[in-house]
């Protein structure tokens, strides 16, 4: 068949325009796939912020609120739960493990979490990922502090640096600092791409030690602070914590355990199943997903429009060519086929190049995005949505070839065989 070879020669003749057209389609496909991948990653990053935890328990408030301040470092707890209640539930026969969480203090805008060694043992995110120490070690002493990856990076802390913890999360004027109890960085966590990166971790007793001279929310009187050397993990008693994570021995018993905790007689407690509350929360954020999708489609429309422009700009010079082919006996269908074949070919090459770009780009920037934005890009094969996007792009590309073809044919007939030059 002569037409494909004519197309190739014609495209080669207009090499620059062809390459630019392919490039513009390739870039839109890259953007489309990247936006889609980021959307998916955001969703996954969100819903996989915590895993393998069966219940989160806190003082009675809203389930979303409890999830937000424990898993996402957002918002403040209003009430604590007594350590006594925690210990009682910890020893419940259905409970396999717990991680206590004590919140309320901050360091330069980052949250300070008081917890214990079980945090490193049992906290899981994104399936079976565990909290890992990148540098140094886990906390042992009262004034040991372990930093989330993002905290260490943005504040430029190294192992051995001193850290002063402020009362309350935010920084600014009028913030009371616990500068009488300096903490020392002993470890830095590996980046997780979750809110874990944006917090500072100390022991429960360390948290208690900061407040040892505080009474009724008032800072200690100057000169009357208990000297730091007098304090140790052993001689401090933890009175309350904010929340705790629970791993059940048997997943089937989770619901029963949840009900039992919610009906805990000694104090008002709330137990939530993180997965369910996460899904509920993501549903509430569906407009985020919607806007990302809208952006994706706008990107495709821009890409296809630029292809249409590229095809239409060459149309003028091609009118002569079309008139010649018509005079030689090519039918309207053949000439239309030629133009559609060309746009289809350009779109196909554009899609293939775009695929290459997006995989290359994801490979190249994924570590950077993970580090800078804490967004863990999901890799792997194509999702159904991505394949649909590509098919729609291809079909639209082919259909767009019909527009110049129709204009060309109308002109060819209007001009007759003799193109007006």
């Amino acid at each position: 068949m002569i037409l494909p070879s004519l197309s190739f020669k014609s495209l080669r003749n207009r090499a620059l325009t062809s390459v630019l057209t392919v490039l513009s389609i390739a870039l839109s496909v890259t953007l489309l796939l990247s936006v889609e991948r980021i959307r998916k990653s955001a969703q996954e990053g969100f819903t996989s912020a915590i895993s393998q935890t069966d219940l989160i328990v806190g003082a009675r408030s809203g389930p979303v609120q409890l999830l937000l301040f424990t898993v996402f470092n957002v918002g403040n707890p209003t009430h604590n739960i007594s350590y006594k209640a925690y210990e009682k539930l910890k020893d419940h026969p259905a409970v396999a493990w717990t991680i206590p969480y004590s919140l309320g203090d901050g360091h330069k805008g980052f949250r300070v979490v008081g917890t214990n060694e079980d945090f490193f043992k049992y906290y899981h995110y994104r399936g079976n990922h565990q909290v890992e120490i990148e540098k140094g070690r886990v906390f042992r002493g009262l004034f040991d502090v372990v930093l989330g990856a993002e905290v260490a990076r943005s504040l430029g802390y190294k192992l051995g640096d001193n850290v002063v913890v402020a009362h309350g999360v935010t920084h600014g004027h009028g913030v009371q600092h616990h500068d009488d109890k300096p903490f020392q960085v002993v470890g830095i966590l590996s980046p997780t791409g979750t809110a874990l990166d944006r917090a500072v971790y100390i022991t429960l007793e360390g948290m208690e030690a900061m407040h040892v001279d505080w009474h009724d929310g008032a800072a200690p009187v100057a000169g009357k602070e208990t000297p730091a050397y007098e304090l140790s993990r052993e001689n401090l008693k933890v009175d309350d914590i904010t929340a705790f994570f629970v791993g059940a021995k048997n997943r089937v018993e989770t619901l029963k355990l949840q009900r039992e905790i919610n009906e805990f007689a000694e104090e008002p407690l709330l137990a939530i199943i993180p997965g369910a509350t996460l899904a509920e929360l993501w549903d509430g954020l569906s407009y985020v997903e919607g806007s990302l999708k809208a952006i994706s489609w706008m990107v495709v429309v821009v890409g296809l429009t630029s292809m249409l422009i590229a095809l239409l700009t060459t149309l003028q010079e091609r009118r002569r060519e079309i008139a010649i082919l018509r005079a030689l006996g090519a039918s309207v269908q053949q000439v239309t086929g030629l133009l559609i074949f060309e746009s289809g070919l350009l779109t196909l090459i554009g899609i293939v190049v775009g695929l290459g770009f997006s995989f290359g780009a994801i490979g190249l920037v994924a570590p950077w995005i993970e580090r800078e934005f804490g967004l863990y890009l999901t890799g792997g094969g194509f999702s159904f949505v991505e394949i649909m996007y590509l098919i729609v792009t291809l079909v639209a590309g082919v259909l767009i070839g019909v527009i110049p073809a129709m204009i060309a044919m109308r002109n060819a007939l209007k001009d007759g065989l003799t193109p007006k030059v």
Partner: protein, 229 residues
């Protein structure tokens, strides 16, 4: 009707859509085989429309049109396209060639668009046929060249070679000499006629330039046969 006629028209008219007045209205006109017909007339007399009808790009609104004995009114668009590809050669005023193909590729093009026409070339090596044809036109040496490198005169001779390859019955020419100077015009026409006679091809040549009229076997004023004018 004489079987010696290549083209026969009776009460043939053409009216463009959305126009009331016909552009072309020919009561009775025919072109006999082997003729070199010169159709002249100022612009607006329907020259281009007549060429479009003869080539089959547009269909007459009413009347009778027979070419090579084939009733054109009975053919659909595709059939007329195929008929043109098989039986006709066409030369434009200028810009006859596809710029990204070589001279040889341009000349071969009609054979790729019509298997019937290719068949007519026979089993002889196509390159030999093209070389012989181009030898006659004095353009054999430029066959591998790019179209851009040719002079206007060379381009028009390549157009003649393409139009005549496969020995079509009818050669339609739309002022192909207007871009050439007087000297080249006569030489070009003589060469074209020589080949047309050799290939048994009837020539219908449309022009407003009557200085070349004497070279043709018959000259007709389109204004005289077109009642719509």
């Amino acid at each position: 009707m004489s079987s010696n006629n290549l083209i026969e028209m009776k009460e043939l008219s053409f009216t463009y859509p959305q126009q009331k007045k016909a552009t072309l209205d020919i009561a009775d006109f025919s072109v006999s085989k082997g003729e070199e017909l010169f159709l002249h007339g100022p612009s607006g007399t329907g020259k281009t429309t007549l060429l479009e009808i003869l080539s089959g790009v547009i269909k007459p609104t009413a009347g009778e049109l027979k070419i090579l004995g084939q009733d054109f009114m009975q053919l659909n668009d595709r059939q007329r396209d195929a008929f043109r590809a098989e039986h006709m050669g066409y030369i434009f005023q200028n810009f006859n060639l596809i710029p990204y193909l070589t001279v040889a590729e341009n000349i071969e093009l009609p054979l790729h668009l019509s298997p019937a026409r290719k068949k007519r070339v026979g089993n002889i090596d196509l390159n030999l046929v093209i070389h012989a044809l181009c030898g006659n036109l004095g353009i054999a040496d430029i066959l591998p060249k790019k179209v851009m490198e040719l002079s206007v005169g060379q381009q028009q001779r390549v157009a003649v070679a393409r139009a005549l390859l496969g020995k079509p019955s009818l050669l339609l020419a739309d002022e192909p000499t207007s871009a050439l100077d007087t000297d080249h015009r006569e030489r070009f026409l003589k060469l074209m006629f020589e080949l047309a006679e050799l290939y048994d091809t009837t020539v219908v040549f449309v022009s407003h330039d009557r200085t070349i009229q004497h070279l043709f076997s018959r000259a007709v004023s389109l204004a005289a046969i077109n009642k719509a004018f």
